[in-house]
Symmetry: C2
Subunit: 358 residues, 2 copies
């Protein structure tokens, strides 16, 4: 890289390292988008207020060692619109989303709780369908829904229903995952095609005059993660599921946590042609789109080929690909190698082009 | 009791034992009130769909034995209106409520997660105040907030903010609690005055032209529960915190679970005079009002006096009282002995006279 580029990057990096403060006057949709505004809210407000080591890791789930057990503990709210979409629904998402937060933390998902906020007047059949979707998804993922709560708010004070699930998993003791553990030379694997969920939601909203058969990729990930643990175990550095904010946001967060660069080979990232087409029409980078059944894994270089083979051998992992590697620089940033031999810096999601995606 | 009364009671009991089905066409506010409509929703829809032993206990939290640990796992949503009220706020409630669900299950609260559903446009200072209230409440209760999630919905799709907390606790191995374990002769203890929270919320809404200094009783209960465990441990049958649905609902649920009667001495139930007055004006039975810092404990007869003394010696337990006992009949029901020597059957909360109380 040229000296000038170096200087620019160094300046961006210094700015990033300034202690973040949350200075916004009002909540905007972007605070829920999982990108930069969410990050500032978390690191500038929640983290200092709730300060404790588990929270400060800012992973998909908290690591807890209690009463002799090695646990992961996670929560996620679901406000997706519409409630049903090709390939899934809010109930299925609410189970798989929390199951996957545990899975990519290297924890076998065991038990979930479910809290509902329902809008007065909601059709009983709509609730019934989502409860059934949750029960089915829980059986598929091998977890039990062990406790719950229901609140009802007046008409217009919710949008049909919101669901919050929380989950407990048992951490696999064969691995130690941490974003800070990645090293230059590590390879980045993507477990399958990206952008499917985000595009399916946009199509379901009718915001796109496009007649494409694109379905959400919502699926539980523990079986794939377990296969990877059993195949390359200690060579696994960190895993994340690129939901809100997409691949771009996850890679940036890991690069920042490790203070290393991630160099992404754009042409290697698996994207369905119809998803690529839709994202072009929408003008939204597929890299920032939400996924609900995919994960990224950072692995030591010598285990990368085996890991890829393993993933490709799992159901749902057929399109897995090696999409990048870790480098010394640009420290704390993601550099994309484009198909035309050029490079550009890829930022995390800014704003909220796709509100209420999950 | 007269033969006629016996027959009536037997008929009510038979109706109650019919397999419940959830037949409602739409969600109403009553489904979130914690009374009969909530019970039918849970037993008629959630329980059959999510069927598993932990859920079927229908306790305040699920018992989980995983990876060698004896855990309790619980979740609760908070939609209280207004967000701030005399004695507390939604954030404080969200911490204490879940802490107390664990505590009354005999589990030391350890870790919470927090999921926010925020309304676009919410004033940042309002969120900041609640985050600070949660942090303070967590410190007071000795728990860590270890993971979280934030979603934002468009203006008018929420009412400022909703919070869902979930919690993990370690079950105290000295006790075995279960509603089904109560026996005729057991005594019922109430840890303090009831109706404070419900009345404080009504006053805060300005729905009552009354200028009384009534504050919510929101407080963490683990220290009181622990004192009771250490004092009368194995004599403890079951504990519950009478939140939504109040004392009336909790006593009915326990009576039904054990298929025994609970005979309540109305004049022994501690109620502040100003709360009594407000409930009279409102025409709402104080027994159905929500409490956020009180619990009911069923104890073996020979341990009752010691338990009461212990409770009265704890901070916040000064007004603890012996309020009733378990009897063979009316099976599955609660019989109230009024101050005038009469008796009446006390049902659980029906409908929702106090919506969004927590």
């Amino acid at each position: 890289m040229a000296d000038l580029e170096h200087e620019v990057l160094a300046r961006i990096e210094r700015q990033r390292k300034l202690k973040p403060r949350w200075r916004d006057k009002h909540i905007t949709m972007a605070h829920g988008a999982g990108g930069k505004a969410t990050e500032t809210l978390v690191t500038g407000l929640f983290e200092p207020a709730f300060a404790n080591p588990a929270l400060t890791e800012l992973a998909d789930s908290a690591r807890l060692d209690i009463d002799g057990a090695a646990l992961a503990f996670s929560t996620d709210g679901y406000v997706v619109k519409p409630l049903r979409f090709p390939g899934g629904s809010i109930g299925e998402l609410a189970v798989n989303g929390t199951v996957n937060d545990l899975a990519v933390s290297g924890a076998k998902p065991i038990a979930l709780t479910a809290a509902f906020v329902l809008e007065e007047g909601l059709d009983a059949d709509i609730l019934r369908a989502e409860v059934e979707a949750m029960a089915l998804a829980a059986r598929r993922a091998g977890v039990s829904i062990v406790s719950g709560d229901t609140k009802v708010v007046e008409r217009t004070k919710a949008d049909g229903m919101y669901i919050v699930t929380s989950g407990i998993g048992i951490r696999d003791r064969r691995i130690q995952l941490s974003a800070a553990s990645i090293q230059p030379g590590d390879r980045v694997l993507c477990s399958g095609t990206i952008g499917d969920h985000g595009t399916a939601i946009m199509l379901a909203r009718g915001e796109l005059e496009l007649d494409a058969d694109i379905r959400s990729d919502t699926a539980p990930l523990w079986e794939q993660v377990l296969a990877l643990i059993e195949s390359v175990g200690p060579s696994l550095r960190v895993m994340r599921d690129p939901t809100r904010g997409g691949v771009a946001t996850v890679l940036n967060e890991i690069a920042q946590a490790a203070d290393l660069g991630v160099v992404l080979d754009e042409s290697a990232v698996p994207v369905r042609p119809e998803v690529h087409g839709a994202s072009e029409i929408l003008g939204i980078d597929v890299m920032t789109m939400a996924n609900e059944g995919k994960f990224l894994a950072f692995v030591a270089p010598d285990a990368a080929e085996r890991a890829l083979e393993t993933l490709r051998g799992t159901p749902g992992g057929e399109d897995a690909a090696l999409i990048g590697e870790v480098a010394d620089e640009p420290a704390g940033m993601v550099l994309v190698r484009t198909g035309f031999g050029g490079t550009r810096i890829m930022d995390m999601l800014i704003g909220d082009p796709l509100p209420r995606i999950c």
